[in-house]
């Protein structure tokens, strides 16, 4: 791995980022586009959150950087598409990743499909594939932690057909074999899915069916998903 020496007492990565192009600023990280070792790369920089106690902030930021990298690697080893990791700098909590070109988020894809009047059935194939990939990921005991349709990329395939799906944004991920954790993972996706894409209950059902068919461990996970769904309804809301 390349070794970056500090320049003028500033980490070399920070200097590098000044040359890169900022493409997105999220709640926790800035995303840049730059070039690294001759390749087009995405750099994800987790910056300090000033509202947090410094000790907590340092711990969380480092942990999320490490978790992200570990989970992506684990997914890739299992044949699940996630960006290639080029380099990680723990002094600045930056991850250098492969840029997934020619892609849209599943969120954008569904939104434009609905806007152009396509029926929900047209998206069933997509739902099937997503269900399959998530089943594979959970079978690897990777819990994504922040499943939303913005965190799944759809790469344009040849001749306008759907290409492959790439999972991104593993900052809240962790390793767990517990059906409870996987159930909550699907619950997070369900909530994000249905609140972002109105009237897509059937689509999500299809996704869950595909998930169930693709993994032997799925029934236990779905059972936990049902429990978590109920928890929200049955919680005593006193005070």
């Amino acid at each position: 791995m390349a070794h970056m020496e500090p320049v003028n007492n500033k980490p070399a990565v920070s200097q590098f980022l000044q040359q890169a192009v900022l493409i997105k600023q999220g709640a926790e990280a800035r995303v840049y586009r730059g070039r690294f070792l001759g390749k087009s790369a995405i750099i994800k920089e987790r910056f300090q959150k000033l509202y947090r106690h410094p000790a907590l902030d340092e711990k969380l930021t480092r942990r999320r950087t490490a978790q992200e990298v570990r989970s992506i690697l684990r997914c890739r080893k299992a044949g699940i598409d996630a960006p290639v990791i080029y380099f990680v700098d723990y002094t600045t909590n930056c991850i250098f990743l492969e840029e997934i070109i020619d892609s849209v988020t599943v969120r954008e894809h569904i939104a434009s499909a609905q806007a152009s009047g396509q029926s929900v059935e047209a998206l069933y194939g997509l739902a099937d594939t997503i269900g399959k990939i998530l089943a594979k990921m959970h079978d690897e005991d990777v819990v994504h932690g922040d499943l939303t349709t913005s965190n799944i990329l759809l790469v344009k395939g040849k001749e306008g057909r759907d290409g492959k799906l790439v999972l991104i944004d593993f900052g809240l991920s962790y390793i767990s074999a517990l059906p409870e954790d996987k159930g909550v993972d699907m619950y997070v996706l369900e909530k994000a899915f249905l609140s972002t894409h109105p009237n897509t209950e059937a689509l999500f059902e299809r996704l869950l069916k595909s998930y169930t068919a693709s993994s032997k461990k799925a029934p236990a996970v779905i059972k936990k998903l049902d429990e978590v769904r109920l928890r929200g309804r049955k919680r005593s809301m006193v005070g």
Partner: protein
């Protein structure tokens, strides 16, 4: 001119308030405080409310300088909350409504908090963090109704704080949360505690069980003081709340935050949220203890909104419910939040259009 009287008693506070066209005329309240180490139980809480409610009602009218004839509508908390206290208060509301010959309006407690928050602060279209002993939700307005974007998947943050207070026998007077806040100011050492954010949601049962288990050990070994624990607990749980609020804001493209609910009184939480808002160029709105903590005026205000558009509650429908979330089969009238024409009484905090009571 429309004058509404609101009755609130879903937890350990019994409050009655009178609102006239956005002006709070009176808002007296009593709190049922239990000894340190004890929480409040439904039947005893209801007993406390029964003993105080008529006195508070008298105060509300006297402070406002009004007579029953001046009231246009009687609002009360339909839910959610504890059963017995809710029943006690609903009973009195129904009785006075009939005695005075006024229409009745059943209000959703959570909506009461939000509507009062918006009235007092003037926030236009905020991301709302609703945090109390019984609720922890991030609510935003999207597609013509209130939506829950993030929430606790187990217990409320206030519940976590209250139960921690019991473990180390912090006084419940005036409230456990207030005393934790004061002690936290004297805390010096940050103790590492579990931090759990799952997507847009949070979980507090893990940190609670950890601290319940570890508190006595840490205190008796002298590893840290009770003040340190209060400080560390606040820093951790409040960071979690700020994080999910920020995520919701990023998701909705919102530039305003409104904190409501009893835990919203906490100045440290307000401070942390303020820092986050400043970094994003957003505005923070918060109220003080008069309106953060459960009170009657917030029910009156929400009731006022409903009454204005003709939404009242028949006597036969004035039952209370401990768990009040919208049912897809109930008559859902759309909430037009920024247009100032809305019907907050349908328990309109929706989650993905899938519900049941």
């Amino acid at each position: 001119m429309t004058v509404v009287i609101g009755f609130e008693g879903s937890a350990n506070k019994i409050g009655i308030g009178i609102v006239r066209d956005g002006e709070v005329l009176s808002n007296p309240r009593r709190t049922y405080i239990t000894p340190p180490g004890q929480g409040f139980l439904p039947s005893e809480t209801a007993k406390h409310h029964r003993g105080a409610i008529l006195t508070v009602l008298r105060e509300a009218l006297d402070e406002a300088g009004l007579k029953p004839a001046d009231i246009d509508c009687v609002a009360f908390t339909k839910g959610p909350g504890m059963g017995a206290p809710l029943v006690t208060v609903a009973l009195v509301a129904r009785t006075v409504a009939q005695l005075w010959g006024k229409p009745l309006v059943g209000v959703n407690h959570c909506i009461g908090h939000i509507e009062m928050g918006r009235l007092i602060t003037g926030a236009n279209n905020p991301t709302v963090l609703y945090v109390s002993g019984g609720n922890t939700q991030v609510i935003a307005y999207s597609e013509r109704r209130y939506r829950i974007f993030g929430e606790t998947i187990d217990i409320a943050v206030g519940n976590c704080l209250d139960r921690f207070a019991r473990v180390i026998k912090i006084s419940n007077d005036p409230s456990p949360g207030y005393n934790i806040e004061q002690m936290a100011k004297k805390g010096k050492q940050y103790v590492e505690l579990p931090y759990t954010v799952k997507g847009m949601d949070v979980s507090f049962s893990g940190i609670l069980s950890y601290i319940e288990e570890a508190a006595h050990k840490m205190l008796s070994s002298g590893q840290c003081t009770a003040e340190d624990l209060c400080f560390s607990l606040q820093e951790t749980v409040f960071s979690m709340l700020v994080e999910i609020t920020e995520r919701a804001m990023a998701h909705c493209g919102s530039q305003e935050v409104l904190i409501v609910g009893g835990v919203g009184c906490n100045l440290r939480l307000q401070e942390m949220m303020g820092v986050m808002c400043e970094e994003r160029g957003a505005r923070l709105f918060a109220t003080d203890e008069r309106f953060c903590i459960d009170n009657g005026a917030m029910i009156a205000q929400a009731g006022w909104e409903m009454f204005r558009v003709g939404q009242t509650t028949e006597l036969s429908d004035s039952w209370i419910t401990q768990r009040y979330r919208t049912s897809p089969h109930s008559a859902v009238k759309n909430v037009h939040w920024p247009d100032q024409e809305h019907l907050p009484g349908d328990g309109c905090v929706c989650v993905n259009n899938q519900e049941g009571t």
